[in-house]
Symmetry: none
Subunit: 290 residues, 2 copies
DNA sequence: CTTTTTTTTGTAATTTTATTACAGCTAAAC
DNA sequence: GTTTAGCTGTAATAAAATTACAAAAAAAAG
């Protein structure tokens, strides 16, 4: 999360080991300085060794010290226009409207900045070359899978979407080489979905997951698209993660579309025109009135 | 100023020497990538030597390459580095990722600012008092209706979602007083959906629509939530409007939740705990490995 | 058109920075 | 008191950035 590295740090402070806490304290003391300091300088100030600082960064989910500095630097930029807080009992309509939209916007912004373009690119390549594509999602991710079905269907690839446990297991077992199975989950811990992914992998499918890194589902993946947005799922059902998943799928679909090249656009035009008869034009609406 | 490193770069482009211009062009092409790249990578991409990149950074007033990356990273945080344009053939992965996310963010921002809070508030009131709620969507709005089902189900109200034409007509005809029928459509012109809405109205249901104003569907509504986001549906299937619809439904669900008052939260806790057995905890994952 | 001067660029060496591998230490569990 | 797991630091290695210097290109002068 770009918005809250420091807060996150503050919270985790008590759970850190002695040396790592020293590092955290130095960073909290003067974050502006840290983003320009080398790992050696920081280690000296915190009176720990350099690898300790490095491990500290890793434990925060960064790839290393430079990555940590980068994220810290970005989080220190002032000027998040609205402070978005959780919805509270007693909020009026305008308040909760704004809070929910702002939370969605923030999560997309964060996702955009942390998105691994290489991973997207790899997945696009596999989807493009796939014999067929299947989407898997349960609960709130079920509709996301259905949406992906709808979108990829237009790309003239055999696509399917499975949103219940039994069908998922069967579809997973039926995979053939060059099939791509894409699993969508907010938690990454839904047992049934993890098992289905395992079956898919054993059946020879290329397994892509859109979920949190460091989860059982992520471990099953040949290709992981990491979505690490934090949200309160205690009371509210996942809201923002779903939007991020959908947008990532938009991105993948677009990537495949671009990979297919310009000649493909005529196919889309044909699809489009097939829908023409289902729409009411302004003239028809008027005619109906009389 | 720090806000405009990229613009500054764009302006200085003609005044730079041949090699330095190559560097600048690579950076402008994909700034997100540059902030994570090493000087060697960048030099290779620009087909110049490493010291050239370094000198380039110095000429921009930075103390060196790392300093430049830092400033670039910070300038990329706020706002849009480029005005978001449509995806084009030939865009690389980073480019279309950014364009798609930015388009989504922009549409949510627009929707947040133009949202009619009074309309939301009225709809929340009706949904709160409803005997039952049905969601109707076709095509890309089908998954949106399913998502709404999933979300409102947690509110302990009888809910249904209909995503095919025949079932929609039957459900519309079966409406009873105090039922709320909510129709979701991007175009607002899908004949089948407009007809279903008409049937619902004649059956005595309260009809809410989430769609464009000034469309046939909007005319059927007792209560209209106007979503007037413009997007190119010629080639791409609706992307951003769908996100706005979902977020509006989040808002409505939240409104109903708040209207139900604090006593309701125990119900949600019960739902939550019913899912506990379906999740893998970290400890279980480890256990499975042995 | 040549020569000189200035600017630009690249090569190679050096320094700085970050990461890895491994060993020692510490604290908790047995 | 021994064993174990988890921290932590040292030293080696790898990667990255910078510097010094020389070659090449462009511009200016003759």
């Amino acid at each position: 999360m770009s918005t809250a590295i420091l807060e996150q740090l503050q919270q985790h402070l008590p759970h850190l080991s002695r040396s790592e806490r020293k590092v955290a304290e130095i960073i909290l003391e003067d974050p502006q300085h840290c983003i320009r300091a080398s790992i050696a300088t920081l280690a000296k100030q915190a009176e720990v060794s350099e690898p300790t600082v490095n491990r500290f960064c890793r434990s925060l989910g960064c790839s290393g010290f430079p990555d940590f500095k980068l994220q810290l630097a970005q989080s220190l930029v002032k000027g998040t226009p609205f402070v978005s807080r959780d919805v509270e009992m007693g909020d009026n309509c305008s308040q909760y409207c704004q809070k929910i939209f702002q939370a969605s916007i923030n999560s997309l912004t964060d996702a955009m900045q942390s998105l691994d373009h290489q991973a997207i690119s790899n997945c696009v390549e596999h989807l493009h070359r796939a014999r067929s594509i299947s989407f898997f999602g349960l609960g709130a991710s079920g509709p996301v899978a259905m949406d992906a079905l709808h979108k990829f269907f237009r790309l003239n690839i055999p696509v399917q979407a499975w949103t219940d446990v039994m069908n998922q297991r069967m579809a997973a077992a039926a995979a053939q080489p060059n099939d791509v199975h894409l699993f969508i989950s907010n938690t990454g811990r839904t047992t049934a979905l993890v098992e289905a992914a395992e079956i898919s992998k054993n059946s020879g499918a290329t397994v892509i997951t859109i979920t949190h890194a460091d989860t059982p589902l992520a471990q099953q993946a040949h290709h992981l698209i990491d979505v690490s947005c934090s949200e309160d799922t205690e009371i509210y059902t996942p809201m923002v993660s779903r939007l991020v998943h959908l947008t990532i799928l938009d991105t993948l679909a677009t990537g495949v579309l671009l990979a297919k090249g310009p000649s493909f656009q005529s196919h889309l035009k044909r699809l489009k025109s097939s829908l023409a008869g289902t729409r009411l034009e302004a003239s028809e609406v008027l005619a109906k009135k009389h």
